[in-house]
């Protein structure tokens, strides 16, 4: 699976202006709606599902990264939105560190394999210190997209 096949280019946010986990997730879901990938009618239900999942345990997986996610019947394939929070956000992460990089994932309801392969693809790249560093230095959505294309081409 390639990052550029699952990330929604038009929804990328490089300067999240959120003071809480909920606000950040709301902006990212809103980005997918604005990009036409989810409907206004589904937006609140998707947001609520992601926040409910966070209540079960933070998706802040360490090294400044978080992967908030849910499964939802309205999507046909994996949708991912990438966002950067330059100041760092308290996400109650497993390692206690602030989060700077977020990959929000919405997967089809009934395809757990696709969901796991999506998370595998994202975390395979996030494991790389270089990738995280270059991502955090990205100023525009175009910069982020170019980086995703580069790492996809090298995989």
């Amino acid at each position: 699976m390639r990052l550029t096949d699952i990330v929604v280019k038009e929804a990328i946010l490089t300067e999240l202006d959120a003071s809480s986990k909920e606000e950040a997730i709301r902006q990212m879901v809103g980005g997918l709606k604005a990009a036409g990938k989810i409907s206004a009618g589904d937006e609140e239900a998707i947001l609520a599902a992601i926040l409910k999942r966070e209540e079960l345990g933070s998706t802040g997986i360490g090294w400044g990264c978080a992967v908030p996610h849910t499964k939802h019947p309205s999507v046909d394939g994996i949708l991912v939105n990438v966002a950067l929070h330059p100041q760092g956000l308290d996400f109650q992460s497993l390692d206690g560190e602030d989060v700077f990089i977020l990959f929000l994932v919405i997967s089809p309801w009934d395809r757990p394999g696709d969901h796991l392969r999506g998370l595998e693809t994202i975390t395979r790249h996030l494991k790389s210190e270089d990738f995280r560093s270059f991502l955090r230095q990205s100023k525009t959505a175009a910069d982020v997209w170019e980086l995703l294309q580069e790492v996809d081409d090298r995989s």
């Binding site: 345990g57 757990p112 796991l116």
Partner: protein, 96 residues
């Protein structure tokens, strides 16, 4: 199978994954919390991939679906106890 090497022991066990959603992020997080206090190392393998079970990033690389057989190898003080706890999670006997 358990092999004693001085104070440290190595034990390996094959466990079938019985979780409907596979080895998803919340399960990986639970495994990390079980393994981190263990005095030793734990590796979990699926097909040709092996993960250090203290790393979320590595566990998520396993992409194990329901029905997959995972190989667990623990090396350290009382590996049976930590493998028992891992098996309890993977076999769906432990709520989380």
């Amino acid at each position: 199978m358990s092999v004693s090497m001085g104070k440290s022991q190595t034990e390996t066990r094959s466990v079938e994954l019985c979780l409907e959603q596979g080895l998803h992020l919340r399960v990986c997080s639970l495994l990390v919390s079980i393994v981190t206090p263990f005095d030793g190392s734990v590796k979990i393998s699926h097909q040709d991939r092996t993960a250090d079970a203290t790393s979320m990033f590595e566990l998520l690389q396993l992409v194990a679906l329901k029905g997959a057989v995972l190989e667990i190898e623990a090396n350290g003080n009382d590996p049976t106890s930590v493998i028992d706890q891992i098996e309890e999670v993977l076999s769906g006997k432990r709520e989380y």
